[in-house]
């Protein structure tokens, strides 16, 4: 059995190595001047008044791929929520308010609004400058957790009603699908960027449906990251196992 595995691994590995070497030999040179795909992508992006070509690729030319990525994130977070839920043999212990060193508190509370604003800015300007819904969403979601560093877990829980973020996550996914379906209803194709006027180049409202899809992704990623971190934090800070702690069972409630 073990030998069979080893033979299988060797054959598979050799095949992969041969294919990779063959592919690498035909790659264009590093830093070359010919970019056939890039030229076409930039042309398509400019013709639809989207200043950031990457955003145009993500939310217009390859919007369907982004739908797949969004579904992966949604399913992954859903799986984590199910796995990390409070099981029958676990209980919640209220975390004690913790002492925070004053420089840490000052730094965290000072940086939090700046980081949050940066995240929102990156989401809003996704179609104009580097960044977009995904990057900005993660920044905004992690910025919120500076409150856990600067104050304590209960302060974070107070500004983070989990139900709202879970609902926002699902609503954002639905919004992306509805925007895609709107294209079908308007008589073109799913997620086709022909629905809205393309607007003035390099302004916030340019690019047709790109800013809307970008905003939907921003909402989805931000709330997905908050929900994910919330369940990890719950497990790390609040939830305790009760098995084998019979002596403590008496004053559990």
């Amino acid at each position: 059995m073990n030998r069979l595995r080893l033979v299988l691994l060797t054959v598979g590995g050799a095949g992969l190595a041969a294919l990779l070497v063959a592919a690498c030999l035909r790659l264009p040179d590093f830093g070359g001047r010919r970019h056939p795909y890039g030229d076409r992508a930039v042309h398509a992006s400019l013709s639809r008044h989207t200043a950031n070509t990457i955003a145009s690729v993500n939310f217009d030319q390859r919007a369907y791929d982004t739908l797949g990525e969004m579904s992966i994130l949604f399913a992954a977070v859903l799986g984590c929520v199910v796995l990390l839920r409070q099981a029958g043999d676990e209980r919640r212990a209220r975390p004690e308010p913790a002492e925070v060193a004053r420089p840490v508190r000052r730094y965290a509370l000072l940086v939090l609004p700046v980081a949050l604003l940066t995240g929102l800015y990156v989401i809003a300007h996704g179609q104009l400058s580097p960044g977009g819904g995904f990057q900005g969403g993660v920044v905004a979601a992690t910025a919120l957790h500076l409150l856990y560093l600067g104050a304590d877990y209960r302060a974070l829980e107070r500004v983070r009603p989990l139900g709202v973020y879970e609902t926002t996550d699902s609503l954002a996914v639905a919004a992306y699908l509805v925007l895609g379906t709107a294209g079908v209803l308007a008589g073109t194709a799913f997620l086709a960027n022909t629905l809205l006027p393309y607007g003035t180049f390099n302004t916030l409202s340019s690019g047709g449906t790109v800013p809307l899809l970008n905003a939907a992704i921003g909402m989805e990623v931000a709330s997905a990251a908050v929900v994910l971190l919330a369940h990890f934090l719950d497990q790390a800070v609040e939830i305790e196992e009760t098995t084998g702690e019979r002596t403590e069972g008496a004053h559990e409630r």
């Binding site: 580097p130 960044g131 990057q135 993660v138 990890f232 497990q235 790390a236």
Partner: protein
């Protein structure tokens, strides 16, 4: 000039990645990983892919180390509470 910069950042990335693998304590590994995330973001920016650099900065240097630290804390707490009552 830009080639030299690429080489320098590539070497730094390789060094940080090796350090992350060589470090055995998961909590410290998370810190090294966070540093590696910043270096990778710099590398992507040098290679003119600022969008990917931003993703790397947000996910690789903030979110992933945070998730690792929280998992480590949970595992350690669990070990302690199992030893405690017995």
């Amino acid at each position: 000039m830009s080639d030299a910069l690429t080489v320098v950042v590539l070497v730094l990335v390789a060094a940080a990645a090796t350090a992350a693998v060589a470090q055995r304590d998961p909590a410290r590994q998370a810190l090294v990983l966070s540093f590696l995330g910043v270096l990778l973001a710099a590398l992507f920016t040098v290679l003119q892919a600022p969008d990917v650099g931003l993703s790397q900065l947000a996910v690789g240097s903030a979110l992933t180390p945070l998730l690792i630290m929280l998992s480590v804390r949970k595992v350690r707490r669990r070990g302690r509470s199992k030893e405690g009552p017995e």
